[in-house]
Amino acid sequence: MQWLLFGPELYFFLAVVVFTIMAMRPASDSRHEYFTALVLAALGMVVCLAGVRSDGVLFSGTYRVDLYSQVFKTMLSMGLFLVVCICTNLGGVNRKFHSEFYLLLFTSTLAMMMLVSAVHLLTIYVALELSSYSLYILVALQRRQETGLEATLKYFLVGVCASAAMLFGLAVLYGSVKAVYLSELVQVLPTVIDRPLVVIGLLLSLGGFFFKLAVFPFHFWAPDVYQGAPNQVAAFIASASKVAAVAILMRFVAVGSGGSTYLAQVLVVLAIVSMTVGNLAAVAQKDFNRLMAYSSIAHAGYVLIGILCMDAAGYAATIFYALSLMLMKFTCFLVLVMVAGNGGSLQIDQLAGLHRRSPLLAMALMLALFGLAGIPPTIGFTGKLLVFIAAMQQGYFTLVLIAMINVVISLYYYMLVIKAAYLLEPPNDLPALSVSPPVKLLTGTLVTAMVVIGVFPTYVIELARAAARFII
């Protein structure tokens, strides 16, 4: 019976096996693979939902299944399903690698699921690496050599450096407290947290998660990867992978939260710098993919605000914010993939005339961007409000004020995108975009979800609060 706890992971592992077999067969119809992936991803969501209430410990205490991890697993499977939905036109990936593409998407999701459940330093590290390596290869699948290669190399090099830092940090941490289980660390850390070695170890270990989340100073890879990777992969990195990063970062910070304000101060600085750097750099972007990357960096800063509160309200707010981020980012990428068509990155100018070519997509883009900027009545505003309330309860008034100023800066570049979609006319008359009914349905659902959860967030907030209780 205990293996049922591992159900979602087993399911995704089986899906990986299916794609391994498919990859070995001679090339078949690409729709075949697409539908297989779609069905498997949809079933994966069901499996995760079914296991959302399970609770227990596996593998001699290294793996913890609780509401916290299961909520994140559900979000991850949702993210995967959404990304698979927009894979009908994999223009950026060589035809013969389509099976491998799905294989790696599922592997990466599996690894992230293990990441959110891992409570042992080594398990965390291994899961993190597995998800990262899958993503490195996914980025490398980009058909256009020059940008793809640069993106891959940058991603890989920064990623390896972050991993090295993290491993070193974990070693230092172990060396100073002699504990590898998070449950042990929770008890030991508060007594020794003011020792320099412990602080260094903790911060270096966080480096790996900061890399995933694209927090300053581990953010350099983001713009190039978002631009150079196939758009679907960029969407996956922007949505699902961020969710996993938030989950594990929060679990780790919760462990180190007792007894000292050291960690919080460092996080405050990183949050402010991330927000400001991300937003200021985004202002100058002409490429929509790069703009999304810088906005991701900025949002990593907002996420940190929730995490650094280090209390139940802050964690709950962060969970809510992660969900909102996933929905809004994905919606932007959905529009991006539809408009870009050929799989390359999208210039903001190419959005010109979108309001005429597809009013639905234009509206979805506008809502998602206003959501990212934190304008009500969208889910993005509610997420920010929760984060700010949590921060204010801890007395971080200045931090909230700085974050709000950043919101105004970010609004400027989001509005430039909206201007392109609603105001500019393309130089030569472009035909209306053909958006298939399923995609229309998906877009409509996303728009509804963003507004409805934004205006009526009670159930999601209650779920997030319940989940957050498990890591205190």
């Binding site: 309860q393 709000m404 909206i418 009670t458």
Partner: protein
Amino acid sequence: MPTAYADFPYLTAILLNCVIGLLVILFIPGARQTAIKWVSAVCSGIALILSTYLFFAYDKSLGGLQFAEKLSWVPSLGITYFNAADGFSLPMLLLTGIVFFTAVLTMWELEYRVKEFFALTFLLVSGVFGLFMSFDLFFIFIWYDVSLFPMYLLIAVWGSTRKEYGAMKLTLYLLAGSALILPGMIYLTVQSGLNTFNLVTLMQPGLFTPFQQKFAFLLFYIGFGILAGVWPFHTWSPVGHVAAPTGVSMIHAGVLMKIGAFGILRIGMFLCPQGWQYWAQLMALLAAVGIVYGALVGLKQTDLKFVIGYSSVSHMGIVGLGLATVTVDGLNGAVFQMFAHGIMTALLFSSVGYIYDRTHTRMIGELGGLSRIMPVASGYFIIAALTGIGVPFLASFWGELLVFISSFRVYPVRGAMAVAALVISALFMLRVVQKAFYGPRNEKFAQLSDITLVLGIPRIILVAVIVIFGIYPSLMFDMIDTASIPFVNGLP
């Protein structure tokens, strides 16, 4: 505060009416322009009828909050859906209803991207209605932003004269205001320790220390003050007004700027009465400077819309001065002036819009002698201009009179400055009227037809409202009294 619950959710009905109108418009094909316009007219008409009904159905002898509706929204955060109307909000609701309806009628001749225009207008107006009726900080902020962000597209797509610059400047300025308001709201909510966003609960005296009140009031004053066109945060306003299309200018100058003043009143002054009294000196100073500055800069303008834009800054200064007096008369005058100015600017923009559509110029020098060609259209403008000057028996007169009387008592110098500025503004309005509408007939425009009766309907409504409240101001003052007297008497 006495609260009477409604047997029928009138206030929600106004909101739902706007939202349903929005949805219906979204599902009508864009080519069927007439259908869209009729839906807009009907829905805005219903909103006007409902808000007028509420204005007269309010029981003045009872006072307090009436037509209240309460619904727990997010219990864990203390957010409630709490709508109610009192003597401050009912004039604003009535104003919104009138301006909304007349703006839709004014835009009847629009042909470019009609569907999106009316959809965005409906979104904007639902935000405005929601803000005036809400008593929950969370919802007030939501409505505040909902009423702002459609402005960007409304100005940038349908506007004129540096429209993209004007739109971006306006949106960024106003949302920068919200960057101060939201921290202020969260600050007070958290400091109260009550875990509630309910305005009435947070209003109980003694909940916040004097320091907290002073601090939060400053945030609200600047945040909302940007939208209210308080000098020196007003620079977005003339630019934005000029760039916006006629209907949007009407709603914007007529209603949206009132949101700013109303926000200072409803949130700043209600929650932080001591902060209000502490900063009143500063408010009065900025208001007086704004009045003088608006009048003086207005003197130099050559574009009719810029003239109106700067006169708005000046007139909103009068509202600010009234609020700064901390007296019943000042409050009454300020709220009355908010209402009167809203109607008056709507009429000004509406008539300029018609003239601009025909002559394709708003330059005062080029118009010359227009009243010989379009006597009726010019007439509307002249009536509105006279209202602005404060001619007796036109609505603005009473508001300005009360504000000046009360400000003379409290701040003699600043009051005198304001009155002097009013004389200047009278001078410049008359100069504009003389140059643009009298003088030799301009043969270039000789072929243009005057405004027809049907097209004139929105202007006739506005003129009628100005005259009614000019002759019978106690209709409004009795209403405002029900809120202002208990409020000022209850001050610590």
